[in-house]
C-alpha cells in the first residue's frame, strides 16, 4: 500500500510545528508498517496527551486518543481483550516517564506484548516548554529559567531494569535505523521500548539556543554512535544507538490464557 493509504489525509497538513521530529517518527512508522505488510485493521494505536500523542489522529488504524500518562493502561485493556491485535503506543517523554512512569515500569515488568515508542524531545512541548524527566541537568526550560537541577532518567536503562524484553534507541536523523527498529519492535513478542531522540525546535531548541530543526538533527547525528563502537570507547559521552535488549520471556496475555485454561479445567 502507498504511504498515503495509511494516513487520514483529511487532517493534513498536520498540527506539528515546522521541523518537529514527531512528523519524522510518523513517517518512519508508516514505512515500518508498510514493510511488515500489515493491514490497517490489525493495528491499534493508543496514545495519551501531548504533541507526540497526536500521532494517533493521523494514522488510519484503529486508534484511541486517551489521557495524559495513561495510554499504557488503556493499551493493556485493549491487548488483554484482543491479544491477536498489534498494539502500538506512541508516547511523549513526559507522558511516558513523568506522569506515566508507573504505568511504564509495570507494563515492562509484566512483559505484555505492546510496542511503546518514547518520542523524547526532552521537554513538555504541548504545554509550552516545561522541563521533563529527560530534559537533563543544566538545560533551560520555561520552568527552569536558572537552569534545571534535575538529573534525567536514561530511558534504555530504566526500561531494561523494569523488565522490557526489547529495548532500543535511535534518533530522527537516523531514519533508516528508525524504520528498521520500529519494525523489529512491533515484531517482538513482549513489551518493546524504542526511545527515539527527537527535536522540538519550538521549545527545547529555542530555550537552549540549539538552532532550528536542521541543527538539532545534526547534533543528534554527532552526539550518538552505534552500540559498542570504537568512537564510544574514545568518547564515553556519546549516546549509543541500536538494540540493547532482545530476549524471550513469557508474555502476559499468553500466560493469562493459561490461567483461563487452568480455571476451566478445575471448575465444575
Amino acid at each position: 500500500m502507498a504511504v498515503k493509504d495509511y494516513l487520514r489525509e483529511r487532517f493534513f497538513p498536520h498540527i506539528w510545528c515546522a521541523g518537529c521530529g514527531h512528523g519524522i517518527v510518523l513517517n518512519s512508522l508508516i514505512r515500518a508498517v508498510e514493510k511488515l505488510g500489515m493491514s490497517k485493521n490489525e493495528i491499534v494505536m493508543v496514545s495519551g496527551i501531548g504533541c507526540s500523542s497526536r500521532i494517533s489522529g493521523y494514522v488510519d488504524f484503529h486508534t484511541l486518543h486517551t489521557i495524559h500518562g495513561r495510554a499504557l493502561a488503556f493499551a493493556t485493556g485493549v491487548k488483554m481483550s484482543k491479544p491477536e491485535l498489534n498494539v502500538i503506543v506512541p508516547m511523549g517523554d513526559g507522558d511516558a516517564l513523568a506522569i506515566g512512569g508507573n504505568h511504564f515500569i509495570h507494563a515492562a515488568r509484566r512483559n505484555i506484548d505492546i510496542t511503546a515508542i518514547v518520542m523524547n524531545n526532552r521537554i513538555y512541548g504541548m504545554t509550552g516548554g516545561q522541563y521533563s524527566p529527560l530534559s537533563g541537568y543544566g538545560t533551560l526550560a520555561t520552568t527552569a529559567p536558572y537552569k534545571n537541577i534535575d538529573q534525567s532518567f536514561d530511558t534504555v536503562q530504566l526500561a531494561t531494569a523494569a523488565g522490557a524484553t526489547f529495548v532500543a534507541r535511535t534518533t530522527t536523523y537516523h531514519v533508516q535505523q528508525l524504520t528498521d527498529l520500529i519494525r523489529r519492535a512491533i515484531l517482538h513478542e513482549g513489551f518493546s521500548v524504542l526511545e527515539v531522540m527527537t527535536q522540538c525546535p519550538t521549545y527545547f531548541g529555542r530555550k537552549n539556543k540549539l538552532g532550528g530543526a536542521v541543527e538539532m538533527m545534526k547534533y543528534m547525528q554527532k552526539a550518538t554512535t552505534p552500540i559498542g563502537s570504537k568512537a564510544k570507547q574514545k568518547n564515553p559521552e556519546l549516546i549509543e544507538r541500536g538494540v540493547f535488549v532482545e530476549k524471550e520471556q513469557p508474555e502476559y496475555c499468553s500466560e493469562y490464557e493459561k490461567i483461563i485454561q487452568r480455571a476451566m479445567a478445575s471448575g465444575s
Binding site: F12, V175, A213
Partner: protein, 80 residues
C-alpha cells in the same frame, strides 16, 4: 538490480512547512526552498533517487517517483 532513475519529485506545497530538512540533508544538493519557503528540486538531474528527503520529511510532503526498466512510473517502496 538497475539503479532507479528519477522521474520526478512530487512535492505537496500544501503540506510542506519549509523546515529545510530535505534541503540540508540531500547528499547531492538537489533541493532548495523557494521565495514562499516551499521545497523545490532545482537540480533534478543530480538526484540519485536515494529518497532520504522523502524519509526525513516531517510533513510527508515529498515523494520520489522513479521509472522502472520499462519506463513505467513507479513509486519505490520503502527499503533498499
Amino acid at each position: 538490480m538497475a539503479k532507479p532513475k528519477l522521474k520526478e519529485h512530487r512535492i505537496n506545497r500544501e503540506w510542506c512547512k519549509g523546515c529545510g530538512i530535505c534541503v540540508a540533508f540531500c547528499p547531492k544538493n538537489v533541493l532548495e526552498l523557494d521565495e514562499k519557503d516551499k521545497a523545490v528540486a532545482v537540480r533534478p538531474e543530480d538526484c540519485i533517487a536515494c529518497r532520504l528527503c522523502e524519509l526525513r520529511c516531517p510533513d510527508l510532503a515529498i515523494e520520489i517517483i522513479v521509472e522502472d526498466e520499462h519506463g513505467i512510473e513507479n513509486k519505490i517502496r520503502s527499503g533498499q
